[in-house]
Amino acid sequence: MDGALDIFCWILVLIGGAFGVIGGIGIVRMPTFFTRIHAAGMAETMCAPPILLAMMIQAGWSLITFKLFLIMMFLFLTSPTASHALAKAALHGGITPYDEEAGES
């Protein structure tokens, strides 16, 4: 049972880390601003919860689990909100979702 949970935690950590690195590569390599928002937003939604879930499983039932749950819910709520506010501010700031080289993005 303990070994199975450890393997499950490893899988969750690897999923979270892989999505984090993919998001980091996307934020550097994507051509236009709105595609970068896509990379960062998707990766943030998929990177933090698996790692925090693995920590919750490792911690067991205690106050630590509740704190990790609070962090997870907060990141889950605020990450899309920040992405939306960023896209709105950039659109009002004069960045159009069109690039001459890449076409519509």
Partner: protein, 91 residues
């Protein structure tokens, strides 16, 4: 286990800092700083588990709150040019 998570998070932080330094517009930089803050929360939690000092989770929670508030405040500043104004149509 959390050593591997820390390494992945640190690699992501390096890539985000690369975009902060490269970014052509200010919004690229804000986006990358937001990502950097989220990854900072995660790495504080990972350090809490690695060192066994779980009090650090409180700091991670506060960092998440401050990161979100700071990003929204900076975005509002760059969108409207000032802090002390409501949304559109509400001066």
């Amino acid at each position: 286990m959390f050593e591997a998570a820390s390494i992945a998070i640190l690699v992501t932080m390096v890539l985000a800092i690369t975009r902060v330094l490269l970014g052509p517009t200010v919004y690229d930089r804000i986006l990358a700083v937001n990502m950097f803050g989220t990854k900072t929360v995660l790495i504080i939690a990972a350090i809490a588990f690695l060192s066994g000092r779980t009090d650090l989770l409180d700091i991670a929670l506060v960092y998440a709150l401050i990161n979100f508030t700071g990003v929204i405040a900076v975005l509002k500043f760059f969108e409207y040019g000032e802090f002390s104004r409501g949304g559109r149509g509400r001066p």
